[in-house]
């Protein structure tokens, strides 16, 4: 297949976006994440495709979701595609006027002021759904999108502290616009209005993951009950000491 006139190879089953990025071509994609299936919601990764056999007919597809095909001719920056990305960013800027990430991306496409009506009191969430999809992928599905259309939002069931949340922070830390608030205070962590206690390393006293998250991981991965009692760092130190002791013992035996 060719991308912007350059012939390139791809593995069967790969999506266009991966191949395009491998060519060093920069196209934005806000709802794409290695941990989850492609979603096709932000529409920024749209490209124009055609084939010689299509008789001049072209179509526009989201590259994150379009499986590669032999003989595909891809254009990533046609006027029409750029115009579409500009409109999408313009709309996102109206929705999230206070998001530095969106402001910067929009500015890259020459938009510093939205053409549309700005949302008042915006929460600056772009509704890419990464948080809910990652939460589901983690095995918890504690939060989801609520409602439809422009009023859609992300939240826990009934907007109450979510029973299935373990306070792992996967949602907050993968949010492309960093709008999911959480608070760590002492040994406590609060997210989605739910308060968690964090594990303290029994060796060094450093704070680790929440007790709920540890319990869930032990159950899901079949780890030992005391696996999270010490932190990773102390575990590595312990392992090193143990390994040292074994080597020493071996040497003594040989001698």
């Amino acid at each position: 297949m060719t991308i912007n006139g350059k012939i390139c190879k791809a593995e069967e089953g790969e999506m266009l976006l991966a191949v395009i990025r491998r060519q060093g071509i920069d196209i934005p994609a806000l709802c794409d994440h290695g941990a989850v299936e492609p979603f096709g919601a932000c529409r920024l990764c749209m490209v124009e495709i055609t084939k010689e056999s299509w008789d001049g007919w072209k179509k526009h597809v989201t590259s994150c979701l379009y499986p590669v095909e032999e003989g595909l001719i891809v254009q990533t920056h046609t006027d029409k595609v750029i115009e579409l990305r500009k409109t999408v960013l313009d709309l996102q800027l109206a929705r999230c006027p206070g998001s530095p990430e969106i402001q910067q991306l929009a500015a890259e496409y020459g938009i510093t002021q939205t053409s549309f009506e700005e949302t008042i009191d915006s929460d600056n969430c772009i509704l890419c759904g990464l948080c809910t999809r990652i939460c589901e992928e983690m095995g918890f599905a504690a939060i989801s999108t609520i409602g439809r259309g422009h009023l859609k939002e992300v939240g826990p069931p009934l907007k109450e502290p979510p029973p299935d949340c373990v306070g792992c922070l996967a949602c907050a830390q993968n949010c492309p616009t960093h709008v999911i608030p959480y608070e760590d205070e002492g040994i406590y962590r609060t997210i989605w209005d739910k308060k968690f206690e964090r594990i303290q390393c029994s060796k060094c006293g450093k704070l680790g993951i929440t007790k709920d998250f540890a319990e869930a991981l032990i159950k899901m991965r079949g780890l030992g009950e005391d696996y999270f009692d010490i932190c990773d760092e102390c575990r590595r130190k312990e392992t090193a000491l143990t390994m040292g002791r074994i080597s020493q013992w071996e040497r003594e035996v040989v001698e």
Binding site: F39, G40, A41, C42, R43, M46, H60, V61, T62, L65, Y66, P67, K80, E83, L84, T87, V88, L91, Q92, A94, R95, S115, F116, E117, I126, L127, G129, S144, T145, G147, R148, G149, H150, L151, K152
Partner: protein, 618 residues
């Protein structure tokens, strides 16, 4: 009782016909929601009560049928007396006695209850002579209004399950597909994709199992074709689905019905029970080795769940959001398995196609849009209701011949076809043939068959605003162009209707629309800007009038109009004073009334109530 062979089915058919023929005279009472709302149930009860106490030769309560919708809801409750087809409209409880004594007993027609043709003023006696019905050809709706809606025997008596028996015992799956392909049937849900080709591409897939789904999520405001079929003739839907399942090799099927259609769910459920009891559904259908089950899946009524991939997610119990269909749902549909999804009306055509052959069906309609199409004809038209006409009938024939023209003979302005994502066509398009390709070319679409007629008192900006508000509310919110784009497009339409917009705004609306069409994920978004695009294409001047002159000549956009009382015409009847919610009208009996413009909210209540047309819109 289980029917285990086609011969047994034919025997039963003869018995059913004989049982129905016992009574030469029959009373058909429409029990569609329209007539029920205007009191049909009371009429049914009254008939039952009166027939108990009266003895009439060759007639009993068994000869009374509670049928599905006749389509002429505006004239309800409707009562039809067969075999003459005497057609009574707006029947009241007190009329029942007279109908029994005069028409049923003595074949005497009651003049007062007959339909009056609004064009000629003449009373019309027979069902088939009424222009509303005379120009129709009913295939999908062939039984609706004629048979008891929940009686499998009556369905069998009219030739029901004949097509299925033929398919299962005399045809191979590929022959069934061949006939459907020959018929040229295209999806009636709006897409217009050739049904036979869809079935074929599913049938050849090796991955198992295959599923068959019926889309009964009719979401267009003002459209009710599918509801009427599901309620009034549920067996035709089941028969169509069984034939489809046999053709594509599926053993499991779902009917997706919206929660707002409770009667459809009840009647379909009853039909499934009856069919299962007869052995026409379940294991070993009609004594063959073909098994097929149908389950009803109820949706919450989201418009987007009519979109195939969102519908399948909803059936599977997930949030009804569409996915990109670069891999088609025929290949990867329900539970990621090969799936055939067709609309209610499409399935309703299938039994007839198999019974009478694809060639017979292909002769009806136009060469690229064969067969007939059901429409719900509504809006400012005299005869509103449900109709079915051959493809290729012109808009003029539908609106003026069947619909009887516009109410109060007002000038025609536009007709909106294809539901919210369709478009408005102006008067010079009235002679267009109604078929898939012509409507799309004209900037509208067939859609599922909504048809809203508008007169000169309809403002196109207001219409666009209304449909954009609907689509904005119904957008699932997954992709940005649809979610944010339609929201902003609606906001801009509001700006125009309030006289706050500039010509730059109009340009912005056009550019935004173009990118919503290009960038949206599913059909809802891709067709979302149509209400704006089609109105601005045909009625650009009206948009400019709102923008430049701050005027709405249709007298609809509240921010741009004022009401005034015509001194010559006002006779001081006090009617407007009584209805004004803001006490903005003053005056005494038989004295000229005046509107205080500072208090007036321009709600139009006075305008609607004034008998002398003395309220003027400026």
């Amino acid at each position: 009782m289980r029917i285990t062979s086609p011969q047994q089915l034919e025997k039963l058919r003869k018995e059913c016909i004989a049982r129905l023929d016992k009574f030469p005279r029959k009373v058909l009472i429409c029990c569609g929601p329209g007539c029920l709302a205007s009191g049909a149930q009371k009429i049914v009860d009254e008939f039952k009560k009166k027939l108990k106490s009266k003895r009439i030769k060759n007639f009993s309560v068994e000869a009374m049928k509670e049928t599905g919708c006749h389509g002429f809801c505006e004239q309800g409750p409707l009562v039809v007396i067969e075999p003459d087809g005497t057609f009574y409209t707006k029947v009241k409880v007190k009329d029942v006695d007279e109908i029994i004594d005069k028409t049923i007993r003595n074949e005497e027609v009651i003049e007062r209850l007959l339909y009056k043709d609004p064009k000629t003023g003449n009373k019309i006696e027979k069902y088939s002579d009424i222009p509303f019905y005379a120009k129709q050809t009913r295939i999908a709706l062939r039984n609706v209004g004629k048979i008891n809606q929940c009686d499998i025997d009556e369905y069998i008596a009219t030739g029901g399950y004949k097509g299925m028996a033929k398919a299962l015992t005399k045809m191979k799956p590929k022959d069934v597909i061949e006939q459907v392909k020959k018929s040229g049937l295209r999806g009636r849900g709006g897409g217009g994709f050739p049904t036979g080709r869809k079935w074929e591409s599913c049938a050849v897939l090796e991955e198992q199992p295959h599923y068959v789904i019926c889309n009964g999520d009719e979401g267009d405001p003002g459209a009710f074709m599918d509801r009427v079929i599901m309620e009034g003739d549920p067996h035709t839907v089941l028969e169509g689905m069984i034939i489809a399942a046999y053709a594509v090799g599926a053993n499991e099927g779902y009917i997706y019905v919206r929660e707002e259609y409770p009667l459809a769910v009840i009647n379909l459920q009853k039909a499934i029970e009856q069919t299962t009891e007869y052995g026409l559904l379940g294991d070993g259908i009609l004594g063959t080795d073909f098994n097929f089950q149908i389950k009803i899946s109820r949706g919450g009524g989201a418009f987007v769940c009519g979109e195939s991939s969102a519908l399948m997610k909803s059936v599977a119990g997930e949030v009804g959001e569409p996915r990109a269909k670069y891999i088609r749902s025929v290949q990867k549909g329900l539970f990621d398995k090969p799936t055939v999804l067709n609309n209610v009306e499409s399935y309703a055509n299938v039994p007839v196609i198999i019974d009478r052959g694809g060639d017979w069906f292909a002769k009806i309609g136009t060469s690229t849009s064969t067969g007939t199409k059901a429409f719900s004809l509504v809006g400012k038209v005299r005869n509103s209701g449900l109709i079915e006409v051959p493809m290729g009938t012109t808009l003029r024939e539908i609106i003026y011949d069947i619909g009887g023209g516009l109410q109060n003979d007002r000038p025609f302005k536009a007709v909106q076809t294809g539901g919210p994502s369709g478009g408005c066509l102006p008067a010079d398009k009235l002679d267009l043939s109604v078929d898939f390709d012509t409507l799309t070319k004209a900037g509208s679409m067939m859609g599922s068959g909504g048809m809203i007629v508008m007169d000169d008192r309809t403002c196109v900006v207001d219409v666009a605003k209304y449909f954009l508000a609907f689509l904005n509310n119904e957008s699932c919110g997954k992709c940005v162009p649809c979610r944010e784009g339609l929201y902003q497009l609606h906001a801009l339409a509001v700006k125009v209707s309030e006289g706050r917009a500039t010509e730059d705004d109009l340009e912005l609306m056009e550019k935004l629309s173009e990118n919503i069409v290009l960038g949206s994920l599913c059909g809802l978004g891709k067709s979302g800007p149509n209400p704006f695009l089609s109105t601005v294409m045909y009625f650009r001047d009206e948009y400019l009038e709102h923008i430049r002159d701050k005027k709405c000549s249709a007298g609809v956009c509240r921010a741009l109009i004022t009401y005034e009382i015509d001194e010559e015409l006002c006779d001081g009847c006090m009617a407007c004073i009584g209805v004004c919610p803001h006490d903005a009208i003053t005056g005494a009996k038989k004295k000229l009334h005046t509107i205080d413009k500072s208090l007036c909210d321009r709600c139009g209540a006075c305008y609607a109530v004034c008998q002398r047309n003395a309220i003027k819109i400026l």
